[in-house]
Amino acid sequence: MLKYVVRRTMCAGIVLFGATLLTYAMMMLAPGDAALEVAIARYGGRTLVDRDTIHWIRKKEGLDDPLHLQYLHWLQHVVRLDLGNSLVDEEPVLDLIRTRLPRTAQLAGAAVVLSLLFSIPVGLLAGMRQGSWLDSLGCALSVVGISMPNYWLGLLLILVFSVQLHWLPGFGRGDWRHMVLPVLTLATALTAYTARVLRSAVIEALQSEHLLALRARGVDSRLTLGRHVLRSCLIPVGTIVALEFGMVLEGAVITETIFAWPGIGDLLVTAVGNRDYPLIQGLVLLSATTFVVLNLLVDIGYCLLDPRVSLS
């Protein structure tokens, strides 16, 4: 089992390294002169920059070197947790992230908790009572939930609760009331998706031959059956929680933009708008690292829970 953990961690390391390569490659896609873009972003407009400034920027940021050297240079810094400075306001990227991350984490955490609170019972019930009206209702609601564009949902919520009813503020960050609408927006898609996954996991677990064999042996007690079902559901639930943290990051990008919540997502949107390469790279790398680490933890957790996995 230890061998599996080591092997899996090494795989994750390779994937992470590849992710840095991919992130860096994305920057190469951008057309135009990087130094010029930087200058425009920094100084405000095309007319405000002269050739000397561009030249100076190019030298300073090392944009003249061949690409693979630039990449290695960047990688060296990344490994030392130096993600460079934002091209726009010249603050260290790491500091910007550090300031904003807890705010996003606030939203994300609340959304994940809320969604788990609803999706687990709904998913379990729908799975166990497959075919009933409860199941149909759950399925219908969840398919609507995943189809609804979360930006539209956010706008609707603002329209109803903020504009018409004036119950809750529609933007910004402040006390708990500012959190309600963004968290609701984020949690809807999460709940819908998670409930579906859980439902199919429960159905599969109930139909599994293992359970049939148990029943055939006369193990009729609800408790024992329930325990076995729960055990085989625990694995998908673990995956779901990890998945949710990944999904919430994506949802946060749009949600924070709508509600003007000053978190990581909002930062990313601004960075992309400004062509702020170091910041974009840092943020993309951050999300990639989160994904990879989460998946690694899930796989190791699988291995602990389900001994069959380590043999494959």
């Binding site: 795989c11 390779i14 994937v15 992470l16 590849g18 992710a19 390569l21 991919l22 992130t23 994305m26 920057m27 896609l29 951008a30 057309p31 219908a140 398919v143 609507v144 995943i146 189809s147 609804m148 564009p149 930006y151 539209w152 706008l155 609707l156 603002i158 329209l159 504009v163 990944g246 990051l249 994506e250 990008v253 749009i254 933009t257 709508i258 990313l268 949107v269 992309v272 708008g273 062509r275 974009i280 943020l283 993309v284 999300s287 990639a288 994904f291 990879v292 998946n295």
Partner: protein, 288 residues
Amino acid sequence: MSALHDPGPVDVRFATDFFRRLRSNVLLAGAAAVAFLVTVVALAGPALAPHDPMQADLSLSLAAPCRQYPMGNDALGRCLLSRIIVGTRISMALGTAVVVFSCLSGVAVGLVSGYHGGLVDELLMRVTDIFLSLPEMVAAMAIAGLMGPGTGNLLLALSLTAWMRYARLVRGITLSVRGRSYVRAAQFAGVRTWCILWRHILPACFPQVIVLATVGLAKAVLAISALGFLGFGIQPPAPEWGALLLEGRNYLLTAPHLSLYPGMVIMLCVLSFNILGDALRDSLDAGD
């Protein structure tokens, strides 16, 4: 040589089961009808629009829905319904293109990876993992935002983040099918590799790929509008749905209809494809 028992022609049972469901389930029939309607509108395009979507009339700026303009007018007085109708073509065309590109590339990678096995498989799977480690929205945004607005860039950005699902699926199916006796018989008989892939392995993947493609279309449409809403997608004055929502956001107090209708259309479109995809998946599972 494993003696796996094939339960029968999967593709035939899959199709018959799906059409049976279509006849009996009202919701599914409704979803299919909506999907069909969306396709028709996308194909017919501007011909169906009651007014010229580009025609501005400032006297009608932010007018509420009325009989002549069923969905009202935007800030420049353009008919919202017409804009939405024309926008259908943009979303559907781009969405279909994304699905086609990502499907073709993903299926190709999956086939090669699963059939060859060994080092090629390991390598391709690592590459897939690397692409999977970047969250879709974040990566698409970064690529689209950096490359600049434009249909081609959007297509590239979304395809790069979508092909992996197909690759994983097809690889799994290929691995399970390539050991079967009929594939071995064909290999031994000297049938060329591409012929084996086309004749024997691809048909086995077909039903599941269809399911994935349907759901993929829904996801693509959502992603296109999301990027449009953030300003990184199709740019105005093209009436892309997400861009319409972005415009409407500024007038949430005064003209809520500008935010309601585009979003509703997006949702209905995505919903219908998701329901279709679910039904297809159920048909597939029922056949096994």
